[in-house]
Symmetry: C2
Subunit: 417 residues, 2 copies
């Protein structure tokens, strides 16, 4: 079964704003067996909306459209539906009463504008909106089910779920189900070379699994997608597939359940009963911020220091000035001294030190922009690395935190006993 | 003049990835007088791409399409162009030679696949790609100029600029030019109530200016758009408009030139010759990270500490345990003591302290999740506030850093003399 997703609104045709509703709609439609063949954004213009409807109706099984159902003159989606259905609009008594009650309860005068929201193209079905004034609309045009949803996500999402739940948007035998492996510390080409011999045969098995590689900053994601009758049937093929990939990719897979690296490391720390302190130079507080993004991180995160100046490295971490003079502030001895310093002063189980050149200034021939030394000191383990990262300042910052978190993860999840 | 933008690629129809090329294309097209009436993403399927082309050709003046020009079987955009032009493809000798030279120079064997990239629909013009193997294509179909660009931004952007620069994509009299006012510390409704009487008359003046309000986390943006023959003509109407809005909105406007709040504050610090140290609890290092996102911030950013535990607040900042016991860790006296502590120990001009409850746990009836106290101490100025923020953990973190940066900005840019 095929679907098209449409978003109506001129603001999404500026250089500043993308439509993100369609990501949520795609996920929900995939899960009940629809393949999204295309999506589009159109401006608040009746002819444009009608043209977009016409381009989809008859070609796909389902058209889901968000936005343009509000009370203003700019809100034209319901008019476009009436146009392609070739019918007039009628005032829906039930919707009108809902609106009247809603406004009365809030002590607000209902303006004439809002009466537009009670208009329904003859033959279409109005769908109640639990979280706003704009009702949804549902109609069959040619072979296509057309669903109009309000634009605000907090109104759109529950309405879509309800329409799927009660069968107004029919589910089909097989939904698309996904598992995601998150990988760090290997380049995309290497991940693909290792994984491809494993996943290629899956494409031709009884329940085929398709595999996509997405490379992002500091990590690679492998997305496995299977079409199956339900979550359990999907798991029956996806679980062994995930296992097979983990077996060949080894420790570079850090998550198979959606968790980010900072959450994976946080769980390892919590399980071990360990605490952590971090000392950052080039990453500028980003490592502390990522660790503290995780709810409940106060159980293991004790403190962080951001030491840009050499004086701060001396005062807050006890890094000897002579060491900085001898090796330079960006060096493995200083990274280790920072990790040792924060660990000793905070009295934590783990200390991390990161020092590097985030750029755009500050690089040299010997230590170009992107050079980062990072160290992890933990009970019975110490490790230090120097890596050359590429990209702009914020990218170097992010990759340095990713590499340091991964070094700690590998130290904590390595072979035991 | 009207335009449609198309992106070809099945990966942009998953729940994980949006098309962002179109934002750049929109900006460039707006500047040379095109209004983008719609945009779409289609999967790697010949019929779908052809249908998307047909929906645009004849309706708009310009169709810009990105992606699907690579060497693989999945790359079908040039085939779709041949189909709507109703012509065959021919091998372009110039492109073939470019490809051969390119591969030879890199010592890579050119595979048969790559020969596909030398195919050009008869009557279309191949456009050289300085940064990759996929040439672009240009054709007129019906009244519409159709431009096919490669998908990777580093290939797409320079090719688009060149096509605009040499007139292959014709510029029109009036381009759309924008100015953005960034505002913080006022709710959207208040900004709109103040700004509307100012901007409403602009819509009917000789060179009209349209105004859009975009609300994001911790800030409001006012986008002013004018159609004018060039940057100078646009500035002649936009500059006084920006001034008029600044006059009524006052100090809550922090930027009219695109800078983020951390860069505005950084420039104020640099201009004053001041240094800064920050002490964070609930914001978890995010304030330090935002300040150090700015290139050159090492000139004024000295250090930051992230003190989750009370011991860390005592050890690193000298916050008395009795004060924490009396007022609670989340309180104005503690926020001030944190700001004073980091300022005294770092010897910086400015100290900032932030303490609060980021959630989801840790709230109480008296101090619910989202309660944040923050303080700024600067030469001859000290200020402390308590605010109740809403949203999830990361949203509370971000808003607390935004509010603290803004408090410092207001202290530093207040009326002088």
């Amino acid at each position: 079964m095929t679907a098209t997703i449409l978003a109506v609104g001129s603001e999404m045709l500026t250089p500043f704003k993308v439509d993100t509703n369609s990501l949520h709609v795609t996920e929900r439609l995939n899960a009940i067996g629809y393949e999204v063949r295309g999506k589009a954004v159109v401006c608040d213009d009746l002819d444009e909306i009608v043209a977009a409807f016409r381009a989809a109706v008859g070609r796909v099984d389902l058209l889901v459209c968000t936005g343009g159902l509000g009370p203003t003159e700019d809100d034209l989606t319901r008019d476009a539906l009436a146009r392609i259905m070739g019918v007039d609009m009628e005032r829906d008594a039930g919707i009108l009463e809902d609106l009247t009650v809603r406004f009365a309860r809030r002590g607000i005068v209902m303006r004439d504008n809002n009466l537009r929201q009670a208009l329904v193209p003859r033959g279409a079905i109005a769908v109640k909106n639990a979280n706003g004034t704009a009702p949804g609309l549902l109609a069959r045009v040619d072979r296509t089910i057309v669903v109009l949803l309000p634009g605000p996500p907090r109104e759109m999402k529950p309405m879509l779920d309800r329409l799927i739940g009660d069968g107004a948007i029919p589910s089909h035998g097989d939904g698309l189900f996904r598992r995601v492996l998150k990988i760090t510390g290997r380049p995309e080409s290497e991940v693909d070379a290792i994984a491809q011999p494993i996943y290629t045969p899956w494409m031709s098995q009884a329940v085929p699994i398709s595999t996509t590689i997405l490379a992002a900053l500091g990590q690679i994601e492998l997305h496995l997608t299977a079409a199956a009758a339900g979550r359990d049937a999907a798991d029956a093929v996806l679980a062994p597939a995930v296992q097979a990939l983990c077996a060949v990719l080894g420790a570079s897979v850090y998550s198979v359940d959606g968790r980010g690296l900072e959450a994976v490391v946080g769980d390892l720390l919590r399980d071990a009963g360990w605490t952590i302190g971090v000392a950052e130079s080039c990453s500028g507080g980003l490592l502390a911020s990522r660790l503290t993004d995780v709810p409940g991180s106060s159980a293991y995160f004790d403190r962080g220091v951001v030491c840009y100046s050499n004086e701060a490295k001396r005062d807050l971490l006890g890094v000897p000035e002579a060491m900085i003079a001898e090796h330079g502030a960006v060096s493995e001895p200083v990274a280790l001294a920072m990790a040792d310093g924060i660990r000793a002063r905070a009295g934590t189980s783990v200390g991390i030190g990161i020092t590097g050149i985030a750029g755009p200034g500050g690089g040299s021939e010997l230590k170009p922009v992107g050079t980062v030394a990072f160290a992890v000191v933990a009970p019975a383990a110490r490790s230090v690395r120097t890596v050359q990262f590429f990209g702009a300042r914020e990218q170097v910052k992010y990759q340095s935190t990713q590499a340091a978190l991964n070094l700690l993860r590998l130290l904590m999840s390595g072979p035991r006993g």
